[in-house]
Symmetry: C2
Subunit: 266 residues, 2 copies
């Protein structure tokens, strides 16, 4: 039985692609001058202008070229489609359902990218848009709502905890009509990965400008994790990763805050 023939290569039309989950946290300016800007956790989607899934929203992505590895392709996509350079990028998961693309077999490796939206400066193309993410999760499902100024997208993902057979959860798309391909799966996988990584790595700082207040940083944690944190506990947790500067942020109708920057402890 140990046939190492390569049936697949001979009989199948096959491509590989890279798709990127670009996450960021955006400010929503408040009318009350005293209040802090409200933050939203958001993902960049692009409106497809051709078949398949024409007019649906999808992750930025492209086929991998002959002389690229997949990570190179991901960087190229970031550069050419979204005009982003030197961005945090990590491999997330490879999706390989044989029928995930109706044209032919396309195996897609999803990457996770993080940016500080302040540096993005509205350079995204016209067919791209940031969507604010809201998720509600219960025992067996995840309900995701994505919002931009014009549109609301909802989908529902089922979780099953397959005993000894896969990663923590196996996700299934239960409801979805506005997102292309199996990208809802990639989106929830990416959100889940990012939440976990917040707790045991320093990835957040890829989403922060050089100087930031601890209040802002805490807001970013809160909006990604989807829960409030206690101020003193947060400050203690973050203290070793962060460095006080002599700059202050003034102008809100309240006590000014010290600006901090990231302190790398490697």
């Amino acid at each position: 039985m140990k046939s190492k023939t390569n049936d697949s290569a001979k009989t199948e039309k096959l491509s590989i692609s890279a798709d990127i989950l670009i996450f960021s946290v955006s400010d929503e300016i408040q009318s009350n001058y005293r209040k802090l800007n409200k933050k939203h956790f958001s993902v960049l989607l692009m409106k497809r202008d051709k078949s398949p899934f024409k007019d649906k929203w999808s992750l930025p992505g492209d086929f991998v070229k002959v002389d690229e590895d997949i990570e190179d392709a991901a960087k190229r996509i970031l550069t050419s489609e979204v005009n982003l350079h030197d961005i945090y990028l990590e491999q997330l998961y490879t999706f390989s359902n044989p029928h995930r693309d109706p044209r032919m077999r396309v195996v897609s490796t999803a990457y996770l990218a993080l940016i500080d939206k302040n540096t993005l400066n509205e350079q995204i193309p016209t067919n791209a848009s940031w969507f604010n993410i809201m998720t509600i999760e219960d025992k067996e499902s995840i309900y995701v709502t994505l919002n931009n100024d014009n549109e609301e997208i909802k989908f529902k993902i089922g979780k099953t905890l397959k005993e000894k057979t896969t990663d923590r959860y196996k996700y299934t798309i239960l409801e979805n009509d506005k997102i292309a391909f199996d990208h809802p799966l990639a989106i929830v996988s990416g959100i889940s990965r990012l939440k976990n990584k917040l707790e045991y790595t320093d990835v957040v700082f890829n989403m922060m400008p050089e100087y930031f207040t601890l209040g802002e940083l805490q807001q970013v944690y809160e909006v990604i994790l989807g829960k409030k944190l206690l101020d003193p506990a947060f400050r203690r947790m973050i203290a070793s990763k962060v460095e006080k500067t002599d700059k202050m942020q003034t102008g809100g109708g309240h006590r000014p805050s010290v600006l901090f920057k990231y302190k790398n402890n490697d």
Copy 2:
């Protein structure tokens, strides 16, 4: 620039494959009847009987067939090559260097599998062998030594911490002459992943028989993590994941120990 042409599919011979890191912990029977069996952390490799890399050791793997997703292929490999069913399996990483296979482009997704070697019962094929793993790690390199009864394999991996551009580390093969393909990279990635997962999941129990003593369980942790743990701390840490039974293990020249089993807290 946003050409979504599929150059790759048209001009390139491409296959996808699944390779599996099967990890386990084995007993080495001690001559002194009083002593506990020594445990080794081990990985299953297969000797290649054909080109490329003929006579080198590689991970069990195969090309993915037309109607399989990659995880199905991984399960098929476990069944047909190593006669293993219902095994813990999780996707690890997708390797896609265009020249990682000299024949043609082969994108390989590595999976991590865990087994309790007691249940394996020596059913592995003759061209497969368990190798004990020893690793030494410093700031910029990982030195790996693999041993079976006849052979010692050494390779060396470089670690670079690419600022904002990839997962924690980018690995490079610095020295290797007995392992096929880029499988040394998969091996160190898998070891690293498993070490991390020990600390925040219950994966260990996939490497344990149904009933085990806390001493054995601690040995498994120690041999994978490569360090000694303190008994009381270990017992406190594991207490909630484990359930006392009324069975005892006797026969060593010392106090008998209670047999425990896994307690799932979901």
